[in-house]
Symmetry: C2
Subunit: 238 residues, 2 copies
DNA sequence: CGGTGGTTTGATCAAAATCAAGTGAGGTGG
DNA sequence: CCACCTCACTTGATTTTGATCAAACCACCG
């Protein structure tokens, strides 16, 4: 059930088998959620955290003028609102991209577990810190990179993150985002995303069609993107 | 010594007096650092966390092409690299804006304290989560707001954060940033910041000169900035 | 077969970047 | 005490990137 999550924890922490078992044992309520459905909203005060078991989700905010900004793209095995454990009010929305299977775990249960098992507490804390590291990189992305690099950068990031959970095929991966969604994550208009995408396609760098992203060379992509995976903190043992 | 930090914790958590005392008792090495001096760098593996006792600091990243992006502005009472407790390698730089007094606390000491006092652990975890919430808002800021709103937004944010630690005068506060620094936090060029600033000045919204920011009306500022303090999570009891 | 959601194209416009050159205040040294 | 240096800010002219507006196009689906 929590396979992807455990897979990520195994790769990125040194949790003992007992700790992992205790996490496995956390009571969880599983729900299927339709594609493109908001399921936690700004202003909410959740009493549970969710774990994405299957599918993709995004966190987003919308400005006064109705402009949406996607803040994070979440893949299976991630807990997009883990922060709600300690921040009572949601300051943004959480919605599915594709049809998702989502597990809900009560705050109480997690709090109990973290009090009993400090290593689990550290591992979860760490999860939220990696989240923050990704936010930081995204600030750089929208603040200081041009449209082409921006697009290449999110693709490179997703590639590395999907690799850890085994959802990366050789030179492509599935991504249920429209050009409109991409625009909202990159701080661009969909029209411009379309044009940049065409250029990247023409240059043989990357292609996005039918919800799959493919790229010829990871190195080439990284170079265009100014991508350095350090900020993902996926290889903590080094 | 840790006055500002304790002041923020008192305002934002329900830590017991013993917990607060235990934090006060943490051994800390105090250093004075000159203005505009980097003191933690990308790639470093810190063995201590720092606490800003006096002065202002920023976190930043620099792209391949040498463009700098400021990720956060830190004020007295904040711990800019608290995340290094669980993320071993720094993924960005930390440097002073003004002359600073900085306290350094060993990771070991903090780890010991958090194991003994789960409420302290939660409070520190929470600190890093608020940090992340600010990053999220900054993504929106650079991604979806025009130059004027962007500038107004950071000013509004700093106003609210400085209020908590008592460094906000009625309608102005000190901020040791140049227009170049502002440009690097807003994802703009200094020239453009200058022009936007002139307009805001002319409109009587806000003025920045000689390292002090003044504004006529907080409401007016917030409106221009599309600012809603919710994301700062400064009033957790509501 | 028409509707719908997503993508593409073209034309025009605006925001912000770039290039280049001042100004002006504060600090230093002759 | 004044010349000069430096750093920050300012101004103007021009260009670029990406936004906006408007209209096809296209594939999938009921």
């Amino acid at each position: 059930m929590k396979t992807f999550f455990i897979r990520r924890l195994r790769a990125q922490t040194q949790l003992s088998e007992e700790d992992l078992a205790a996490i496995e044992a956390l009571p969880m309520q599983v729900k299927d959620i339709e594609r493109r459905t908001p399921f936690v909203r700004e202003g909410d005060r959740p009493s549970q955290c969710c774990l994405i078991l299957e599918g993709f989700a995004v966190r987003s905010k919308t400005t006064d003028e109705g402009k949406r900004q996607i803040l994070a793209i979440h893949i299976p095995g991630e807990m997009p609102d883990l922060h709600s454990l300690h921040l009572k009010v949601m300051d943004h929305d959480l919605s599915t991209l594709s049809k998702c299977q989502v597990g809900f775990i009560n705050h109480d249960a997690i709090h109990r577990l973290t009090r009993e098992r400090p290593d689990v507490a550290s591992a979860l804390w760490r999860e939220t810190l990696v989240d923050a590291a990704v936010f930081r990189e995204w600030i750089v992305n929208v603040g200081r990179r041009d449209a082409t690099a921006r697009l290449a950068h999110v693709v490179a990031e997703l590639r590395e993150r999907l690799k850890v959970i085994g959802l990366l095929q050789d030179h492509h991966f599935g991504l249920p985002m429209t050009q409109m969604d991409l625009a909202d994550t990159l701080g661009l208009t969909p029209i411009h995303v379309n044009r940049v995408l065409q250029q990247l396609r023409k240059d043989g760098v990357l292609d996005i069609k039918k919800e799959t992203v493919s790229f010829a060379s990871a190195e080439r992509l990284d170079h265009i993107a100014d991508f350095d995976e350090l900020y993902l903190h996926q290889h903590p043992m080094q």
